[in-house]
């Protein structure tokens, strides 16, 4: 208990740093994967290639990627940018597959109807495809959020500060409570991020919230695929 009070400042600070490192990969994952996933879905010849590339990117283990990245992009080994960029790569790798599936699941008839009433491709994307793909994209980004927050702590073994610091120090001094604080802190960040994302989903896509159970069941049915992709 004393330890908690004495170290409250550091716990809070590392929690903020940990959360801060987790935000850019989640945003990059969403922003980049939507156009890539849309293109991969629209030009079917490219779909296999794009999915193969993201599959390979996803297969690269995290710690080695943190270390290989500096010699590719010229950063320092201890630079937090290595962790942020590596996790962004994973986020994109997970989300491109999800986005491509999400756009593929939009009913063709609906797209034809939109075109028939005079929507341009651009407008059809923003007002028809994106909203209909939204719930699947949201569930994908929630998976990305959890896995990113969990992986940020790995960066601590190469000296990038995060809640992972407590894991290493707690282990070195044989103090389980400190490791526990790190684990609980990581889970708290993950839960808070998940609530924020779910909340944003409700604000941006009020219809998913209002509709009957049928839609929710349909959305949940997408999860196994995401889980499998992850």
């Amino acid at each position: 208990m004393n330890w908690l009070i004495e170290n409250a400042g550091q716990i809070w600070q590392l929690t903020l740093i940990h959360a801060g490192l987790s935000v850019p990969p989640i945003i990059v994952g969403l922003v980049l994967s939507v156009p890539i996933g849309w293109l991969a879905n629209r030009y079917r010849a490219s779909r296999g290639t794009v999915l193969a590339i993201v599959g390979i990117l996803y297969a690269v283990p995290s710690l080695p990627l943190f270390l290989v990245l500096p010699s590719i992009i010229g950063t320092k080994v201890l630079d937090p940018a290595n962790v942020v960029i590596s996790l962004s790569i994973y986020a994109v790798a997970i989300m491109v597959r999800t986005a491509s599936d999400a756009f593929a699941a939009v009913d063709v008839d609906v797209l034809l109807a939109a075109t028939a009433v005079g929507f341009s491709t651009w407008r059809r994307f923003w007002s028809v495809e994106l909203p209909l793909a939204g719930p699947v994209l949201l569930s994908g980004i929630r998976v990305v959020s959890v896995s990113t927050i969990s992986l940020v702590s790995v960066g601590s073994v190469i000296g990038v500060p995060s809640l992972g610091y407590f894991f290493l120090r707690g282990f070195q001094v044989g103090f389980p409570l400190e490791i526990g604080v790190g684990i609980v802190g990581t889970i708290v960040i993950a839960v808070v991020f998940d609530l924020i994302l779910a909340g944003l989903g409700r604000v941006l896509m009020p219809w998913t919230h209002r509709r009957s159970r049928r839609t929710r069941v349909a959305i949940r049915d997408e999860t196994p695929e995401l889980v499998e992709a992850a």
Partner: protein, 244 residues
């Protein structure tokens, strides 16, 4: 910092290819750790996943359990178990198995669930028992997705045994931590390259296995691109409706 030439010199150095600390020995350790983890995790996860998929019961619990496990930071669990249970192979193995469970369980139940209901009804109507339906219909049809789960689990396990070399263990992660301790970037980068190659090879092998386990009947009955065909026929239907 550009360490490629140093890393390749390290990789090509014959002294790094022999003895108990050599690349072949470390790779073997890494593979054995990974294999043991996957076997133990499959023994636990596959029956659970198949049961959930076959009966449709406990799905919510399985999903939530998997989601909760996923949120656990692996490094923390690894070091917490090592602090509680001591060093050695056992504690990290427990952590690794926990980590491998969600994709395996999800793969198993998603695979069984994805089997067409009509196929299962047909199997029942010709008199198959529940077990026969499971082993002769659902399991073969679900196998590609189940192997997909094993594939994701395998990649995670390879990656995390690398991180786990923070503990006094063997495996390819040794190079990363030993190199880090003496700031030998060539060794860290060389070791990282070996792990990445190992992971990509494992991923490729599973990709091939996933194709091979698709039952022959399914391959024969499959249209070349179902989605395109479906959308064309939809276009056709709506067109004819308009015309009519």
């Amino acid at each position: 910092m550009n360490g490629w030439s140093d890393a390749f010199n390290w990789l090509l150095d014959p002294t790094n290819w022999s003895g108990p600390g050599g690349i072949p020995a470390r790779t073997e350790e890494h593979l054995v750790y990974t294999l043991v983890t996957l076997v133990v995790a499959c023994i636990i996860a596959l029956p659970i996943g198949l049961a959930v998929g076959h009966t449709g019961k406990g799905r919510g619990v399985a999903v939530q359990f998997s989601g909760a496990l996923r949120a656990l930071p692996t490094l923390g669990v690894l070091l917490l178990l090592a602090t509680w249970l001591g060093l050695g192979f056992g504690p990290p193995l427990v952590a690794m198995v926990l980590l491998a469970l969600p994709p395996l369980i999800a793969g198993a139940y998603a695979g069984v669930e994805a089997v067409d209901r009509q196929t299962i009804d047909a199997a029942r109507s010709i008199g198959m028992t529940g077990w026969q339906v499971l082993f002769k219909v659902e399991l073969p049809l679900a196998l590609p997705i189940i192997i997909g789960g094993v594939r994701s689990a395998c990649l995670q396990v390879i990656a995390t045994w690398t991180v786990a070399a923070y503990l006094p263990l063997g495996g390819l992660g040794r190079y990363i931590y030993d190199g880090y301790a003496v700031q030998n970037y060539a060794e860290m980068l060389g070791g990282s390259i070996v792990v990445i190659i190992l992971a990509l090879v494992a991923d490729g092998v599973f990709a091939i296995v996933q194709r091979l386990v698709v039952p022959r009947g399914v391959v024969l009955g499959r249209a070349s691109d179902v989605r395109v065909r479906q959308s064309r026929s939809l276009v056709g239907t709506s067109g004819s409706t308009t015309a009519g």
